[in-house]
Subunit: 383 residues, 2 copies
């Protein structure tokens, strides 16, 4: 504040300060616009160089440098990281994936079985953009033997409940052809592919919906099958498109999906059903919700804006989890019983056992979720 | 791009563009620092004017103006709103609440019963900062009759399981003294206060934890008791401190809390217990989690970094909900049965019934949750 400001009446000072904030905020908008113009140019140059859109190291380094600078400037580092990540996320949003082909054999086609499905179409687009010849086979198409002999990759992108049959019905593939699938369960499809084809086999699970514009930061789970060196180019292709790869055994994958998909979706579905049948008053729940409850409400409600059949299929594909889920219901009944009996001591004892199980994740999750909780809270104030 | 840029090799262009991004990002940090310096001045001026820290209209107007400007500059409006809200949230974080007292009777004390508890201490701080005389009574303190006759407000901030007894044990208050509580259930405490005291009575439920630095945007639920005009100053005081007020009947409040607190906390608790007893492999769940599942995992894990006894008390205070929760468990069993029988049609039918129940909230929640989901996704990439 200059000395002339000091002579001002506080109300006038307040007005001047608010004008100053408005000017800073306008400059902020201009900077964001300028950054967007530059990143659009980066996108064009990268396409001409056929370089990947998303380079994790560059992003980490960019953020680390700006965190350092924030510290120097006396600004909270997490604030700067949050703001930058939000802006960067926007810049990836609409750009299309483009990267050099990692295969040397662009004269041999990539065959996408189920290529007319949503995920099939998306994968087709990516392979075509990177210069591959792509042939799509859909449910009414024949997969000719001559195509099977030429294919360098056969990618199964059919619904989970028909994957096994579709694998069995494949014609004989060239010995060096890679056979891969993108089913949300892995053990059975992988076993079926290994039985069908003696060449390289790999199971993939893309953990994202077909609405993504590009694969920047999207997670793809890899479960190894046979001859990893021969399908390494497929994994590298996904990395070039920006994907984040996690590798795990098919069995561990399926166990984890029992939690991540079956348990998660089934309990969310039942929660919504319960609210509907109890006719819970959503208006007053929204009105009174704490940020965390608002998040829960969103997570439940959003499921019902999506595809019923898809959820039914995902849950049913993880039927092996149902036995475990039944034990969850027993534990739930027991917990109610405990509290009805007023046995607070046992509740606290159990609570501490679970706390020990979560270990350092408990506090880590508490800290990480803080920004989510605050964002959920901000949602209340949006128009 | 200038014409000289066009002559550059693309790799060199890319380097120059990246340098330009780094410059823009550094300017962004500087702007955030400048804004923080201005808002700190605003805080000082507001304290001298005894004006509230958070003024909803000013914030709405500021954001609306910058959204307009974003549109003019060709930047996504939601991006600008998200960035501004994040920066504004930071600026409220550490400022202490300060506002003019709304009571005319600063010579008469505010008495906080349970004033040594966490919430009691927080409320004490706020009232003291705004110029009130505050007396705190804790469990071993006597509430003298002379203090009771002078008090202009008696605020019950004792644990939920002792509120009723603490109300009954109050000495006789002055006829114009306001009796209020901050318990997480409302019907019973409100009835007890109305029976005890013939003057103004109001039930309050602050929907935030005692770790907040100020009340900017924090939700306080008001359930009216008796003589609203006489306790209007108390509500206005909370508004001056920045709180957001929602008014509802005590019964509706308790029904909603049955969902927001009992159902929510009990199912989260049981989910954690289930994971612990099944010895679910958290590492692989974290490794493979989709952003939404990661959110769920955070929401479960974070509970166990908190106070076991507090959760036991909150859940037990909403025992009326247990009958409803038992029906939830029945519905859950029925849903599993349905899917085990392969009755996908009935599942989809029910799904659509729930979708109808959620109405426009389903898509609204899907849209609102998108930014949360993306933020949860970003968390994966933080160091």
């Amino acid at each position: 504040m200059s000395s002339s400001d000091k002579d001002q009446h506080p109300a006038e000072q307040l007005k001047n300060l608010r004008d100053a904030i408005d000017r800073v905020d306008s400059q902020l908008v201009e900077l964001i616009a300028e950054r967007a113009r530059i990143t659009a140019q980066v996108g064009r140059v990268k396409r001409s160089l056929q370089q990947p859109l998303y380079v994790p190291e560059r992003e980490q380094q960019l953020i680390a440098a700006r965190r350092d600078y924030a510290r120097q400037q006396g600004v909270a580092e997490d604030l700067v990281e949050d703001v930058l990540r939000r802006i960067i996320r926007e810049s990836y949003k609409t750009q299309s994936a483009q990267a050099t082909a990692t295969s040397q054999q662009l004269q041999r086609p990539v065959v996408i079985v189920g290529g007319k499905g949503q995920l099939g179409q998306l994968l087709t687009k990516f392979f075509v953009n990177s210069g591959y010849q792509v042939e799509t086979i859909d449910k009414d198409d024949a997969f000719s033997e001559s195509l099977a002999k030429r294919a360098q990759l056969v990618l199964m992108a059919v619904p989970v409940n028909v994957t096994l049959r579709a694998v069995e019905e494949l014609p004989e593939l060239a010995a060096d052809c890679v056979l891969a699938d993108v089913t949300s369960i892995k053990a059975e499809p992988l076993a079926a592919m290994l039985a069908k084809h003696q060449g390289p086999v790999v199971g993939l699970h893309p953990m994202f919906g077909p609405s993504v514009h590009n694969l920047a930061k999207q997670l793809i789970v890899v479960t190894h099958g046979r001859h990893p060196r021969n399908y390494q180019w497929v994994i590298e292709q996904f990395v070039n498109w920006g994907a984040h790869i996690e590798t795990i055994s098919a069995e561990q994958h399926d166990t984890a999906m029992g939690w991540i998909q079956a348990m998660r979706h089934l309990s969310t579905y039942t929660y919504g059903l319960h609210m509907a049948e109890e006719n819970a008053d959503i208006e007053s729940l929204v009105q009174l919700s704490s940020p965390i409850y608002r998040m829960e409400l969103m997570m439940v409600g959003r499921l019902f804006a999506q595809n019923a059949e898809l959820y039914a299929d995902i849950i049913c594909a993880n039927q092996q989890q149902f036995t475990t889920i039944k034990r969850y219901l027993e534990r739930f009944s027991a917990a109610i019983q405990l509290l009805e009996n007023g046995d607070k001591e046992r509740f606290i004892e159990q609570f501490n056992e679970v706390k020990a199980y979560f270990g350092s994740y408990a506090t880590q999750f508490l800290e990480e979720s803080e920004s989510l909780v605050q964002l959920a809270d901000d949602q209340r104030f949006r128009r």
